[in-house]
Each structure stands twice: as structure tokens, then as C-alpha cells.
Amino acid sequence: MNKMIFKHEFLIRINSIITWTISVVAMVFVFFSFFSVFAGQAEMMQQVLEKFPEELLIAFGMNEMNYDTVLGYISFYFLFIQLLLAIQAGNYGFGLVSIEETEMTADFLLTRPVSRAKILTSKFMAALASMLLTDVVMWISMFTAISIFSEGKDYDMATLLLLLFSVILFQLFFFSLGLMISLMVKRVRSVTPYSLGLAFGSYVLSAFSGVFGDVKLEYITPFKHFEPAYIVNNGALNAPLVLINVVITVIALVAGYWLYLHRDIHAVS
């Protein structure tokens, strides 16, 4: 790894890291501040939900929820945190090398005496550090929110940690896939449409996989691989699905490296 590239890459992303981290933290606190309302009226909530069609509840992952427990409540809204993290990770993946090419700075970087593998590794590490920074702040704010809003209710620490740490693998999936796709298309003009598409696309797949029952869409979407309700209800990860997730991530990363090493960096045209 090249320290200078790492530092440069990290600093160039610093505004984005701050923005995303603030959004995630805000979501943690805003949702949790309603915990007492939900917990106090859990029974009524249950009655309301029973009137909704079963398919709709499955689509939103609301069929197996206990809103009056700490973990149950977190699993209800963790989906939205996952969505934010997915878009952020997708942004970093899609933009990792494509931004240099659209802004034409790739010529500068790639004519330095550093191998492409080293360049990509340094960039990857910087993006990983950016995502981890967001995660760490999210974890701290989650514990802070719990201590403020949980009204002393008990919860299983191991399960919570499992849920919180699972976001790293979750993010890496979107990052790696974004990187690979960005190297397969001719030119990524703007990163955001791609990362939004990937994140919401995966989410919709996950939602529909609940509705159609038989269709095995859960194999390909991380929102199923790391479904909060499953983790909370079972106190464990869904091992086969997580394995699929890791395999896809690794394949995408390896493909990304291969494509980058063999890529033609075209001149301004």
C-alpha cells in the first residue's frame, strides 16, 4: 500500500464521510426517540398491523417484529440504516476509479512510479477506512441512544454486536459490486444514479422475495443476507446466505482488480 495515495484518497472523501455519518447518526437517534411510544403501545400496534395484508408486512420485513423490546425495535428500523450504508458504500465503490477517469486525473496518478495493484489497494484501504469510520460512529451512537431511550430494558449484547458488526460485510458487498460494475461499463458519468440503483434495487429484490415466497431472490440480495429480523430472532447470522454474500463480494473484488490491471486509460476526447 502507498501511504500518500491512502492519505490523499481519504482526505478527498472527508466531506462525504462527515455527511453520511451525520445522516446515519441522526437516523439512529430520531428513530430511537420514538421507542417509548412504540413500546408503550405495542399491543395496539400489533392490532393495527394485523389489519394489513400479510404480503405487505413481509415486504417491509414487519411480520416478525416485537416493537416493545430493544432489539426488536432496532431490527425494525435497522433496514433504513442499512439502506444509507449501502448507498454510501456503493458511492465509494462506483467512484473509486471512475471519478479519476471522468475528472481526467487518472493520467496523473497512473504515470507515477506505482503499480496499478498498489494504487487500487491503497484506494480500497482508504474507502474501507472511510466506511469503518462511519460504522464506528454509528456503533457508538447506537449504544448512546440505547442508554438514553431504552428505559432500562434488557437486551442481548452478543446479538446486538452481531447485528452492528454485520454492516461491514454488508457494505463490502455494495462496494465491491460497485467497483466491478464501474470497470465493466464504458464510462461512469455520475456515481450517484448507479449507487442508488444498486442499493434500492437490492432492497426491492429483498422485499419481493418475501412477497413471492417461492422465488429465491434472497440468494442475491444483501438485505436478505443480513436481514435484521433474522439476526435478532435467531441470535445468529444466516450462515449459508452470509457465505453466498462473502463469495459474491470476493469474486467482485477479484474481478475488479483484474479489470483494473488490464484496463486501457483513454485520453481526453
Binding site: 502507498n2 500518500m4 490523499h8 478527498i12 475528472e103 481526467m104 486525473t105 487518472a106 493520467d107 496523473f108 497512473l110 504515470t111 507515477r112 512510479p113 506505482v114 503499480s115 496499478r116 498498489k118 488490464h262 486501457d264 486509460i265 483513454h266 485520453a267 481526453v268
Partner: protein, 290 residues
């Protein structure tokens, strides 16, 4: 010793042609001019040698090392000035130069100061605030900062005012005296003639001619246009004159030979206007296809 050895280098972008079967050598310490019209394959050749793109066939060697295998090692001693300069917009000039310098071994503070003062570069401005010409200056300082042994200049003078162009040429000559080899790509014949020892001419992806600059000049035409009252094309019916045409009352032709004789002949006329120009590259190429 050959600094650059290119043999049968070919590059296709899908089906469209980059360069086809290009071979040439550049010797240590020379300034090699590489000229051709836009789209002829000049940048493609340079980008292949910098391993920004990968060859379809053939091979390129720099410092005796294959460019596809030893890229990082080769680039340690290369300076590159692209035709259009793009840097991280949010950075200040000084930060970009320091970032660039950090990739090479050594302390370049003094040299950075020397080069930026010479090129009158303001170090504390943001890249995004710079004009095209000023970005080019950043490119020049950045390319020369780490004292490379080989310089790739891809149409380096575009965007520079004449004064800066002269300073730049002096700087390149100075570097060359210290032993730096220069690969100078351009579509402007004049600057290649001023600077280079040898020149390669590329057209439609193929090397048309590699020759000493002297022999190129001896074969050179001048393009002359004369406007005078009552002038007829027959007046220029002398040896060395070709391609005589009349347009809007002025007579245009190509001339090759003793320029003094021609000037004397023209001075006998009562002129409204006269221009003597370098032929365009296209016209030089026509000569090579005769």
C-alpha cells in the same frame, strides 16, 4: 544506447485503429520530434509507452525494460506532460506538487522553487481557479520536478503564451544539455524544427518517415501568396515553383529553392500584400506521398 525501443507496436481500440506496426528508436540524449496531425496516433504511442494503455501487438521498451512488465520501475525516471492537463480541482498548486514529489525518492523543495519561479507559477492558488495556460505550467513543473531522465511532452506548448513558450523551450534545452532525453510530440512543425535533432512523422497510425531534421528542412517548401496589381500567374513561371493558383486577385504557390532569388523577384513588383508561410503538415505529407 537506445532509451526508447519500439518494435512493431500496434494498438486497436476494438475495431478502430490507434497505431499499426510502428517501429522506431530514440537514442540517449536526443530530442526526438514526433509529428503528425490530430488523430494520427501520437498520444496513443505515448500512452502505450507509459503503460496507460496496453498494446494489441508488438512491444515497447524504455530504458531497456518492457513497458507492460516494468511500468513502475520505468516511470520512476519519466516525466510526462500531457496535451491537456487535469489535476485534482480542490487542491492547491503547492499541495499537488508536493503530492507528486512524494512518489519519488529525494528532496525536491529547491527544484520546485526554481521551476515555479521560472514559470511564474503562483503556488497558493487552487487548481480549479487556474486558466488553461496556468494549468499547463503546473504540468510543466510537475513533469520536471523529480529530474526525470526521459521526458514525454505531448503538444506541450498549447495554451502557453509566446514568452512562456520561449522560457519553456530554453528549459527543455537546458534539461537536454544535462543529458535528459526528450520525446517531443507536436503538430506544429516550427517548434519541432527549433528543438529537435531527429523527427518521426506519423500519419493515420503508421510511421511515414524518420529523418534528421536537416534533411527534412532541405526538402521543405514555402507557401507564398502575392497580391499585386495586374499580376498574372505566368510571372512565377520559374524553377522551384509548383501548384500555382489564383484566388481573389492574389497568386498562391509553393516554392522550393533559393529563397533570396524569390524575394528579389517579388520585390520587383509593386505589392499590395505578400505572405510567406511554412507549409502545413498536410502539405509536407503530400510531399512524402509524391
Amino acid at each position: 544506447m537506445s532509451i526508447i525501443e519500439v518494435s512493431h507496436l500496434t494498438k486497436f481500440y476494438g475495431k478502430s485503429r490507434g497505431i499499426v506496426d510502428v517501429s522506431f528508436n530514440v537514442e540517449e540524449g536526443e530530442i526526438f520530434g514526433f509529428i503528425g496531425p490530430n488523430g494520427a496516433g501520437k498520444s496513443t504511442t505515448i500512452r502505450l509507452l507509459l503503460s496507460l494503455i496496453h498494446p494489441t501487438e508488438g512491444e515497447g521498451k524504455v530504458f531497456g525494460l518492457d513497458v507492460t512488465k516494468h511500468g513502475p520501475e520505468i516511470r520512476r525516471s519519466i516525466g510526462y506532460l500531457p496535451s491537456e492537463v487535469f489535476y485534482y480541482e480542490g487542491m492547491k498548486v503547492i499541495d499537488l506538487l508536493k503530492y507528486s514529489a512524494s512518489f519519488y525518492e529525494g528532496n525536491f523543495t529547491e527544484r520546485m522553487k526554481y521551476l515555479s519561479e521560472l514559470m511564474e507559477l503562483e503556488m497558493n492558488r487552487r487548481i480549479s481557479d487556474l486558466s488553461f495556460g496556468n494549468k499547463k505550467k503546473v504540468g510543466i513543473v510537475q513533469g520536471l520536478l523529480h529530474s526525470p531522465k526521459l521526458l514525454f511532452l505531448d503538444e506541450p506548448t498549447s495554451g502557453l503564451d509566446p514568452l512562456m513558450q520561449r522560457k519553456f523551450f530554453d528549459l527543455i534545452k537546458e534539461e537536454n544539455k544535462r543529458g535528459v532525453t526528450v520525446f517531443f510530440s507536436s503538430h506544429i512543425l516550427g517548434e519541432v524544427q527549433r528543438l529537435c535533432n531527429r523527427v518521426g512523422i506519423i500519419r493515420e497510425g503508421s510511421m511515414v518517415e524518420i529523418s534528421e531534421i536537416h534533411s527534412l528542412q532541405q526538402n521543405n517548401y514555402k507557401k507564398i501568396s502575392v497580391t499585386a496589381n495586374g499580376l498574372t500567374p505566368e510571372f512565377f513561371d520559374t524553377p522551384g515553383v509548383t501548384n500555382v493558383q489564383t484566388e481573389n486577385g492574389s497568386v498562391n504557390f509553393f516554392f522550393k529553392g533559393d529563397i533570396n532569388a524569390m524575394v528579389q523577384k517579388v520585390s520587383s513588383l509593386k505589392l499590395d500584400d505578400v505572405t510567406i508561410e511554412e507549409p502545413t503538415l498536410e502539405e509536407i505529407f503530400m510531399h512524402y506521398y509524391e
